[in-house]
Symmetry: C2
């Protein structure tokens, strides 16, 4: 007989904590709201650098703060509740009662444990502006706006003050990126609908962030339970893991059983906005039959998730009955899950989509909690062949129409985009989205620029993501190497997040973000000075950079050596550049006195280097 296992409820949940190498968490309190603590990561450099730490944007929340006490069973501190309450216009009330179908009618044996603490939900009482959009239009600068302004300004003070810094140039395709982000600039962008701060008033654990074309390009990571393989513990850890490497928002795409309980654990422990696709849960409530969906069950699901604190909803309200036949001749038909659910419903009932028909009511509901729209692209192309077709663009036009309705109702809105698009067809997506949707933020999945590399679709899509981010997309939904093949594991999530940080940062550089290049320059100076540890620590993935270096040159001494494995110790092209600098410094002008200068160079001492290893030409 086996010894009975310790009941699972008594085991504290474990998540990854602790800082990244050489990194410290710092908090900045903006002058406009000294009670706020805006987080940054500072990467310390070797003393020989003679440079201050490099400050970078930090999505990782308290988990990387050694001072923070992490208790997953309690959730993160709920600092933002005070901000919401001090603005007023909200009421606490007894929320909807949790029903068995919220967790997929799972039996007691398989029911995931409920989050131990119940919080009473808040909702707007209609007495004053509630959403960030309503506040912005009323001229109110919220604490969320002050917070994101400070957060986005990362390095800009230094860039403006420091003559050494590279002056960023760039081509932003009509974006209006300011030298310095003020809370008023944030307010104005939100009021114009050009940016959103996804921040349900019932998600007070949130560290606010902004999504918009005139801010840093953001990335989203998808997680979600698999009925068979995932547990609550795993899903919370997936979220913590994704934000550790840089995910700005996380979408919980869970289906099947335990949806409600799993989501509660995630939200209570998430410092980043959480997005969902409510139709997935609604479908569970009707036993998986799209035909049985109706407005009542969908509305019930929205309320449930609004009360839990979901920050944005993907809603496929643009999949209209009249567009569905446009997909009939596609190579890959409808590949969006939400899109296909709605298409099935529309066809079965031969009715207009209930999401489209009830859009006003959806807006009214979401506005009470400040849940943002992510208008879903249910008809996005699933292959190069189907890119930019009539179905895709018809839906996009409808999303533009819905954007205006949602704005009218005071809701924040972003728009989802493709998918699979060859390079030459990417820009038209961005241009049409800006035009149709009044510059509401665009949020794209990749796009993948070719279909022929399953196993490498993080790369096929990073190419498209970097480009569309440059053209103006505000947030990039990551794609992992497992796309089209299976469910991402821990390594895949990290690979996807890092790959998308690359795409987003490459876009920031190309757009001419005033401070983006500071990070690149710090890396390049470290590289040129052979500060190996600094190069590892400044990498988006310090662990991999160190491990790759050690494969070739594992000795500790090599990490402070003035050479690298490409050229070896006796020859070094970067060392030669030092000769060039010494030489140039001795030149009084650019008139080269041939024989004389030759002598001078010998005086300056031309060491002899012996090449030893392979290199690029």
């Amino acid at each position: 007989m086996n010894k009975p296992a310790k009941p699972k409820d008594f085991e504290p949940l474990k998540v990854t904590t602790g800082p990244l190498p050489a990194s410290s968490k710092i908090y900045v309190s903006p002058a406009a709201a000294p009670d706020l603590r805006v987080p940054f990561r500072e990467i310390g450099l070797h003393a020989s650098a003679g440079e201050p730490p490099v400050r970078v944007y930090d999505t990782s929340g308290p988990y990387t703060d050694p001072q923070a006490a992490i208790h997953v069973e309690k959730g993160l501190p709920r600092a933002r509740t005070a901000w919401v309450l001090e603005r007023g216009g909200v009421e606490a009330y007894n929320g909807r009662v949790i029903k068995p179908e919220d967790n997929g009618n799972v039996g007691q044996k398989h029911l995931a444990k409920a989050f131990p603490i119940a919080h009473q939900p808040l909702r707007g009482d209609g007495s004053r502006p509630l959403t960030q959009l309503q506040c912005a239009r009323a001229g109110i600068i919220t604490k969320e706006m002050i917070y994101v302004a400070a957060r986005e300004n990362l390095g800009r003070e230094q860039a403006l003050a420091n003559a050494r810094a590279t002056i960023a140039d760039g081509e932003s395709f009509g974006a209006a990126i300011p030298e310095y982000v003020t809370p008023e600039f944030v307010r104005d962008e939100i009021a114009r609908g050009r940016a959103i701060i996804p921040c349900n008033i019932n998600h007070p654990e949130l560290e606010p962030m902004i999504i918009g074309r005139n801010f840093l390009v953001k990335i989203n990571a998808n997680i979600g339970n698999s009925a068979v393989t995932s547990s609550v513990e795993e899903e919370v850890e997936k979220m913590v893991w994704a934000i550790r490497w840089g995910a700005d928002t996380v979408m919980d795409l869970s289906t099947g059983r335990n949806i409600h309980n799993t989501r509660e654990w995630i939200i209570r422990n998430s410092p980043v906005p959480i997005g969902t696709v409510p139709i997935y849960q609604a479908l569970e409530k009707v036993n998986g039959d799209p035909v049985k969906l109706d407005w009542e069950v969908y509305k019930d699901t929205l309320i449930e998730q609004c009360e839990q604190g979901v920050d944005y909803f993907t809603i496929h309200a643009g999949v209209r009955l009249g567009y569905i036949h446009l997909t009939a001749d596609r190579v890959t038909g409808i590949v969006s899950r939400g899109g296909s659910i709605m298409a099935k419903w529309c066809l079965a009932h031969h009715k207009e989509s209930f999401l489209y028909e009830h859009f006003d009511e959806i807006c009214d509901l979401m506005a009470k909690y400040d849940v943002s729209f992510s208008l879903g692209d249910g008809l996005r192309p699933g292959s190069i062949a189907d890119a930019n077709d009539a179905a895709q663009f018809a839906e996009l036009e409808t999303l533009g129409e819905l954007t205006k309705i949602a704005w009218e109702k005071g809701c924040q809105v972003m728009i989802e985009g493709p998918g699979h698009v060859p390079m030459h067809k990417i820009k038209i997506n961005m241009e049409k989205q800006l035009r149709e949707c009044g510059e509401a933020p665009f949020y794209t999945l990749g796009p993948l620029t070719t279909d022929i590399a399953p196993g490498y679709d993080h790369i096929t899509s990073a190419i498209g993501a970097a480009m569309i981010g440059w053209f103006g997309t505000a947030m990039l939904c990551y794609v992992t190497p497992k796309e089209h093949l299976g469910l991402p594991n821990r390594d895949d999530v990290k690979e996807g997040v890092i790959t998308y940080k690359i795409a987003a940062h490459a876009a920031d550089l190309a757009k001419g973000h005033p401070a983006a290049q500071a990070w690149d320059d710090a890396m390049s100076r470290a590289r040129f000075s052979f500060r190996w540890e600094d190069q590892f620590n400044l990498s988006l993935d310090p662990e991999r950079a160190l491990a790759f270096h050690d494969e070739t040159l594992p000795k500790e001494a090599h990490k402070v050596a003035h050479f690298c494995s490409m050229c070896g110790p006796k020859f070094c092209s970067m060392k030669i550049t030092q000769d060039v600098r010494d030489y140039a410094a001795k030149l009084n002008d650019k008139t080269f006195g041939m024989a004389e200068m030759s002598k001078k160079f010998v005086e300056l001492g031309g060491e002899v280097y012996v090449p030893q290893d392979s290199d690029k030409p």
Copy 2:
């Protein structure tokens, strides 16, 4: 006492052989030269597909042909000798005697075994056009031209004949990609200097390929011995491994000892063009001191490599004395190894570069063997901060000047390009190169679009490579994940090659190559029809696609199942699309009779699917 090891010389060298999954090697004989056998790979599809095999470009040589007898000690068949001899204008002669310094004066104990067979070299006797450029200008269509025309036409016959095929659109930025490639088109492109066929007459093992803006975008993989870790065996296998996954050319960047012998093994076994950087070997001959280099030792090295059969030389003749001080204020100075060697030489002697001074003689020599120029960018930027600066562009202008001289001398020319360039500065590189260098093919390293991700520079650079390939770059030099950190191993070489195949193919799609999309469409049809095995086999990396799938759904049955791990067996968005098609087929027109159509749909049978798993929204 240990038993003495079997002498190494008696062990046959092992390289990777055998076809890729579901693939057959086929050979096509063009009507214009029925003795030629142009290789392709055909990927067979499942019988249920009802589609012919997908024919793809094949760089892998005889190693993937089960009919071919591979004997590394004998080298590949030397079919092209007959083509060269039948054209005439060449003489066989006793080549330069191999000297100890050719192998870095390595002692007998460490000397790599010599290739067992000695072939007498050929050279032009001046009696008639020799290089492909000279032939093209004289109106001669060579067998190499016929061969590459057939090779490039991959799928175009079918594309033109098959009404089902997607008509490729695209934006080629002024390129002139034909619907169908004729030998005359190839001749004309070569005559204009817009394309090259790197094909030393002493490399008759070659399967000719073409590099030019109006042909498929090509990729290069770098290999090279490391003094400590590599052997002849490893280098030959690296080459075979790189071409197995799609490398169109291979550069041998070996330094240190055994350069000559290692290179001989590589060339004798290589079906793809081999490029080198002769200054690396020249430097070995002067014991690694750049200051001691001179024209005589460099010329001696060129002759040695011309006789061995190197197909193209990187020559950094644009690093002029007067440009060197332009790099003094760079963040990362001179990062090209060849560039820094020449800079050091110029500074030490305070003289103009001997490569620049002797450029005419270099041309005369290379023309005798038809070795192509790859004019090196020794002053390329090594960081985002240094992109597109005065030093880089001054050198590019000189490369343009040298291109015209080389053309005058009958030499084929391509131009090397950067390096590290943010996205918004990529296009100007291409435009300036086309303008300065008279449309000679551009050959770039990446470029990397950000500096902050060591460990992922295959990805930071694939973004830039795909874009510059689209804009007109003819060949992309791969970057592996080990870039900046260490020496690539076998996995890194594969990862680099596949990543660059993605970039090149994405560029072909975007340029509007008439047949490129056929591969994507075959993949997408397989995906839509749940032909899992076909998806794996059509992937650039069938092994990884299969392995990733099996991580989530390892059972054999799942490979023929009509579902995937994203949605599970009970719900499937692609299945719903079939409902859409059935529905659309029943519609006589687009007038929707609501109630009636609803009934019809029920008649058509709307199965019930139960979603089970996570998915993209």
